[in-house]
């Protein structure tokens, strides 16, 4: 079950360029929340920290709050300010 004990984190646009990757894996901890995922990413990619306060988070394709619980297998997307249209 080790392979599903991960969560996938996705980066887009400038965030992807800054992170140097569009996707990374985190080990899912028990009763983990979105805010903790964000903090782990800030620790792992400290140069992203100034940007992260302007980033929304989506869990499995829907916007969510920092309090949202994260489960193994979830996809957590870091959504920088959008500019479509």
């Amino acid at each position: 079950m080790a392979s599903t004990a991960n969560i996938t984190v996705r980066f887009f646009a400038q965030l992807k360029d800054l992170a140097g990757t569009g996707e990374t894996q985190l080990l899912c901890q028990q009763a983990m929340r979105v805010a903790e995922v964000k903090e782990q990413i800030a620790v792992e990619y400290p140069w992203l920290r100034p940007y992260l306060k302007s980033v929304f988070i989506a869990r499995n394709g829907s916007y969510c709050s920092g309090e949202t619980e994260v489960n193994a297998g979830d996809e957590i997307a870091f959504i920088p300010p959008v500019s479509g249209g």
Partner: protein, 153 residues
């Protein structure tokens, strides 16, 4: 996992993300309905100048599966306010030249005020919440992702 297009079972909503030229004529035709007196088509096109800076071309990137889901949500929200009969939304991705169409929204409604209001609402909300990003390729050779509110690089 990637869904690049969506068609509602009721055939009253189509959403598409595409790297090809947008066929807004087909989109307009797809929303026409003899129950409706009004069709509004909006095209967002690649403009040459933004606050004095010259654009050479643009690139768009999307979080595809979420963008389509978010567009569905916005159309459902619009329908709470206005009786939109059929809605079609196409967003272009990848590389776009000056003058090309980045987004097309077509809406039909019995009366024109509702068609205008619904289309304008959709366009305003898309610019706020749908996970699609624009990269400017300026004429001076630099590129820049557009993220309103991000720290300046």
């Amino acid at each position: 996992m990637e869904h690049r297009s969506y068609q509602s079972p009721e055939n009253d909503l189509t959403i598409e993300l595409t790297e090809s030229d947008i066929d807004h004529e087909a989109l307009t035709a797809s929303v026409r309905d003899s129950a409706c007196g009004a069709v509004v088509l909006f095209l967002g096109t690649v403009r040459e100048f933004t606050q004095g800076r010259q654009t050479d071309s643009l690139a768009y990137e999307a979080y595809h599966e979420m963008a389509i889901r978010e567009l569905q949500r916005l159309v459902a929200e619009a329908r709470k306010s206005w009786p939109l009969k059929r809605v079609g939304i196409v967003h272009r991705l990848g590389h776009l030249e000056l003058g090309e169409t980045a987004i097309a929204i077509a809406v039909s409604s019995p009366h024109r005020a509702e068609a205008f209001a619904g289309t304008q609402f959709l366009m305003d909300e898309i610019k706020k919440t749908v996970p699609i990003w624009k990269q400017e390729h300026w004429s001076d050779g630099t590129t820049e992702w557009v993220h309103p509110g991000f720290p300046k690089q």
